[in-house]
């Protein structure tokens, strides 16, 4: 059980309003990801839910119960911090058992639960080590272990993978997804990593300056961004925006085409441009192109696209894949 509801939650730090008023419902069992630019209030929102900060006004309900004034520990949530926040002086075992000990659980029960968590996270061999003797990924797992043992009604993650290196990040990402599949517990996850958001979320919440811009499934956001901000934010490399005549021709203020949605040709196409940089990854080629009208765009070609810098290419936006925005940046 772990449905979380925010009702007109506001948060100010002294004078500055960080969250001007958020309404959000997170269903039980959902994997919700908060994304948004740095400083937009993702962590703050998460900490409000956790109870580590007081809301300035508004209400937070967990499973319908108003927890607004409650202490963090009584909300039945577990949190995984970006820095892992492991207790460096305790063994892995004691780290994981700590919340149970605090809850006054009998020793035997504690051990059983720790063993189970260790099992789930493959931490068995490390139980007697100190966090300092673990690799980054293992530490992250301990942090998650500490969260699981409590059998919380929801997990809160604040950029849990951002301190890991690329390869490990991929692994942990998959592990957390699998964990979610197994436990079916609500998870609220903050990240600024595109790929994490897209691959893990049931529902993505896009924040800007403390406001929710759009809530939806990853593919919904990818395919139907409600505005230019979301469109530019979701997808990597970012969507190319073209304004001026090109857009006007399609009856929009700005049109957007994703790098992967360009049809590239040496012979014909809608627009012509000159290659300024070509990045050959082997699996893909990213072409940085300056169009005739002066716009810079990035186009992706799968596999290898043999090209020399300065070469001229023709590009066409794939039909049905062109996003249109009005003056306010809203999708039309």
């Amino acid at each position: 059980m772990g449905a979380i509801t925010l009702k007109n939650v506001r948060k100010t730090f002294g004078e500055t309003e960080v969250i001007p008023g958020v309404d959000l419902t997170i269903e039980d069992g959902e994997f919700v990801v908060f994304v948004g630019p740095s400083g937009c209030g993702k962590s703050t929102l998460l900490r409000l839910i956790a109870g580590l900060e007081d809301v300035t006004s508004g209400q937070i309900l967990i499973d319908g119960r108003d927890v607004t004034g409650e202490a963090p520990a009584r909300r039945g949530l577990a949190m995984v911090f970006q820095s892992y926040a492991l207790y460096p002086h305790m063994s892995v075992r004691r780290n994981i058992a700590f919340p149970l000990k605090m809850a006054g659980m009998p020793q035997a029960e504690q051990e059983k639960r720790v063993a189970r968590a260790a099992d789930i996270l493959n931490l068995g061999p490390y139980l007697d080590r100190r966090p300092g003797q673990l690799s980054g990924g293992q530490r992250q797992r301990v942090a998650i272990g500490r969260a699981i043992v409590r059998e919380p009604s929801a997990f809160l993650f604040d950029e849990p993978l951002s301190n890991l290196d690329a390869a490990l990040r991929v692994n942990m990402r998959v592990e957390i997804s699998e964990l979610h599949n197994n436990l079916k517990t609500t998870m609220v996850y903050v990240t600024h990593d595109q790929v994490e958001a897209m691959t893990m979320a049931d529902k993505i919440v896009v924040l800007r300056a403390g406001r929710i811009e759009q809530v939806g499934s990853p593919l919904e956001l990818y395919h139907k961004p409600v505005n230019q901000f979301v469109a530019g934010f979701i997808g990597s490399p970012n969507m190319n925006f073209l304004g001026g005549a090109t857009a006007a021709r399609r009856g929009a203020h700005v049109i957007g085409i994703r790098p992967e949605d360009w049809v590239i040709s040496r012979t014909e196409g809608r627009v012509k441009g000159k290659v300024t940089v070509a990045e050959h990854l082997g699996s893909d080629t990213y072409l940085h192109i300056t169009l005739e009208d002066g716009n810079h765009i990035v186009a992706r070609s799968p596999g290898e696209f043999p090209v020399t810098v300065g070469e001229e290419l023709f590009l066409t936006g794939a039909e049905g894949r062109i996003y249109k925005f009005d003056e306010q940046g809203l999708a039309v």
Binding site: G51, L52, E53, D54, A71
Partner: protein, 289 residues
């Protein structure tokens, strides 16, 4: 990063210290202030009476007052200069790759553990005494007239003794500071062609700025109340040459048992110390975050 609950808890937790220190400050200070307006000599009980600012006038007109102020400044300044400069030099020296670094550190640290009284006694009798002191014997061995440190250079001698005690403290703080200097920064400077001296002035010294402020603050706090060393070695003399403000108050309080005068002196010392504190605090306040 706090909820209301946390914040009120926090207040609760600071409260005991604040209350204790407040009492510790206000009770004696209040009594002192009260006494400072009284004519009150312990040796003449039953003669107490209100004298207004009489005690202050008396204390401020003491022929030793201005000299003692000057002595205090010279002493504190001198010790600070010696310990800061010496401390930096020794810290850098110890930080070099040398054999037996740990032992060197142990030796250097040792004076910090010595009681002020003991160190004053040892220095006075066994080193600075011109007849039996080691320094005198050494200079005689070289055929020179032994120097009578405590009467010819009394203030300097005190500075030496107290510096000896505080040098380890400064050295230790500088050493930790030095070791926290980012080695990549040093390497970058090296790549940039900075020589040893340029690295010292452009990197090491600015890096240690914080440590230097800390050392100055802490030492000043303790040095303003240096007392045992003077009492044991020179008794504030000859003349007024080593009479510091603290010592002057001492002579009022425990030689004359003039509680009124001593209290006035105490209040004046508190005011002066707080002026010093004000500047120090501003200095350190900046480095605190």
């Amino acid at each position: 990063m706090a909820t209301l609950h946390q914040r009120s808890l926090a207040r609760l937790m600071v409260a005991p210290s604040v209350v204790l220190l407040f009492l510790w400050m206000i009770v004696p200070l209040g009594m002192t202030l009260w006494f400072s307006f009284q004519r009150y000599n312990l040796l003449m009980p039953g003669m107490e009476e209100f004298t207004g600012l009489g005690n202050y006038r008396y204390f401020l007109s003491d022929p030793g007052f201005w000299i003692s102020l000057q002595n205090t400044l010279i002493m504190v300044g001198g010790i600070l200069a010696i310990t800061v400069i010496g401390g930096i030099a020794i810290a850098i020296l110890i930080d070099q790759p040398i054999f037996g670094q740990g032992y060197v550190r142990i030796l250097v640290i040792a004076p910090f553990f010595v009681m002020p009284t003991v160190s004053a006694l040892v220095w006075k009798n066994m080193f600075m005494n011109p007849v039996n002191g080691l320094l005198g014997q050494v200079s005689r061995a070289f055929g020179a007239q032994p120097v009578d440190w405590l009467s010819q250079y009394p203030l300097f001698s005190i500075i030496v003794i107290v510096s000896w005690q505080w040098l380890p403290f400064a050295t230790l703080i500088f050493l930790t500071s030095l070791q926290s200097l980012d080695s990549e920064q040093v390497e970058a400077a090296e790549m940039d062609g900075a020589g040893i001296w340029a690295r010292f002035t452009n990197l090491t010294l600015p890096h240690m700025g914080r440590a230097i402020t800390v050392v100055i603050l802490i030492e000043t706090i303790f040095l303003l109340s240096v007392f045992a060393e003077i009492l044991v070695t020179t008794n504030g003399g000859p003349g007024y040459q080593t009479t510091t403000l603290t010592y002057l108050v001492y002579t009022q309080a425990l030689l004359q048992f003039d509680v009124g005068g001593a209290s006035a002196g105490g209040i004046i010392a508190v005011i002066l110390a707080n002026i010093v504190a004000f500047f120090l605090m501003r200095m350190i306040g900046k480095t605190l975050d």
